[in-house]
Amino acid sequence: MFELVRNVGWRTVDNVHGLGGITLFGSRLVLETLAPPYRLRRIVDELYNTGVLSLAIVCASGTAVGLVLGLQGYNTLVRFGAEQSMGAVVGLSLVRELGPVLTALLVTGRAGSAVAAEIGAMVATEQLDGLRMMSVDPIDFVTQPKALALVLSMPLLSALFIVFGLFGGYLVGVGLLGVDAGTYISSLENNIDFRNDVLGSLLKSLVFGALVGLISTWRGYTSAPTSAGVSRATTGAVVQASVATLMFDYVITALWGVGV
């Protein structure tokens, strides 16, 4: 019993300590982003790594999700004789929910894990200590460009996911199931509101980008300098960023979507 209480106590202290650590780390990232030197070259490189290299997986996944949404949406709507609303169903599902959330999960798996593993490997091979010995701050030089690139690329990738998803829905609805093209497009246009739907989607993507950037860089930066440590950091980054994305999705939806 005493052992149990002690373990719970230690775990609580450990979690609070970790929460404090990641908060301070996040504050440092923000400060380094705002303060010079602005490492534009490194940010562009990281945008390529996190954004451009994620394009294929995001576009393919977006199309696949759009195809499935088209099929499922049509099969449901046709029961109520409302298949002319297919554009709205596909569009609203993608813009409000699936676009930002699935993009965040995909980017977490592809780029977030890579970021955590790369920084973890740099810890294990003393590259971050090497930077410190050159009086170069590794948070400023290594982690900040990676985190910022994830924040910036997430809304763009999410937008692409949505566009390809709409295209997938169009292919199934118009090309396969015989929904009128004009009806699909006009249903889409009439039912998607810029402020409530598109801006909300953008906000979600930005928050998810910040979460994935923060958690991935933090897990890499604090990883134990061993191969097992790098492995734990990578897995931890994917799990924690995915769970955080889903939890924050609920919070943002509740706050942004109430009354809509």
């Binding site: 003393e126 090497g130 930077l131 010995m133 009086s135």
Partner: protein, 265 residues
């Protein structure tokens, strides 16, 4: 001196460049140093010797400010660094260069960019001046045509040379070198050894090395700091070799069974 307190005055004037004073350090239950004190003289080659796991690399990291002691002081010249905030330690580190055991070169950057990095970060030198300086460093350590190569494309010895070039490119006062000979063949050991001796003689910088390679230590060291049981025994090569301390005798006789020590003596 209270735990965590600062020494009221700088170490007495003399030849000492780095002073480690009454340092205690533990990792969890494992005590690494228990009142360790030692000093490293200016412009000399000091080698930290000791068995595996005795804390040689940890001592270097303490002197570099990468590790904080639980108790005690680390003096770099007139500056006590063990309780300085990271921002101020960064200023002190501009006087230091460190060559890590594995090189610690940034593997996403070319060898040239690795060596040029501290110049780009901390000086207003033009690209032309930086290029000249980096190439001069490459010449000094005997590296040719490596500018565009990535660290992963270098051999172990070349990686050590590139790391040494990076550590020296800003002309530091003190060079900390962690296991420069590990993983190298005997010829490469001789080459790096000759290089370090030459650098020490031409630049007159304080050189502090960790090493478990007894032969090279006996050949090149001006001073030896022998780590044992969480404390240090210091002396010249002759003093250490003639020491009657059974722990040193045991260590040296174990090493002396190989050809290296015979070669050194």
């Amino acid at each position: 001196m209270a735990p965590g307190g600062a020494r009221s005055e700088a170490p007495p004037a003399g030849q000492s460049h780095v002073d480690v004073v009454s340092v205690r350090l533990a990792f969890g239950d494992r005590r690494v140093f228990d009142g360790l004190s030692c000093r490293f003289s200016q412009a000399r080659k000091s080698v930290i010797l000791g068995a595996s796991g005795c804390g040689k690399t940890t001592l270097l990291r303490l002197m570099a400010g990468l590790q904080r002691p639980d108790y005690g002081d680390i003096w770099i010249g007139e500056q006590e660094i063990s309780r300085l905030p990271e921002r101020q330690i960064r200023r002190v580190r501009k006087r230091l260069g460190m060559m890590f055991q594995g090189g610690a070169l940034l593997d996403s950057m070319s060898v040239f960019d690795n060596v040029a990095l501290p110049l780009r970060e901390h000086t207003r030198m033009s690209e032309k001046e930086i290029t000249d300086r980096v190439h001069a460093q490459f010449d000094a350590v005997g590296l040719r045509r490596v500018d565009a190569l990535l660290p992963g494309q270098l051999s172990g010895g070349m990686k050590k040379r590139a790391a040494l070039a990076r550590a020296m490119v800003t002309d530091p006062e003190i060079l900390l070198i962690d296991e420069p000979f590990s993983g190298l063949d005997p010829l490469a050991v001789r080459l790096i050894e000759a290089l370090l001796v030459e650098v020490n003689q031409t630049k007159g910088l304080t050189m502090i090395l960790t090493n478990h390679h007894i032969g090279s230590t006996m050949r090149m060291a001006d001073e030896i700091v022998f780590l044992v049981d969480g404390a240090a025994i210091s002396g010249t090569v002759r003093e250490i070799r003639e020491s009657i301390d059974p722990r040193i005798r045991r260590f040296l006789s174990a090493a002396g069974s190989g050809p290296e020590l015979e070669d050194a003596s």
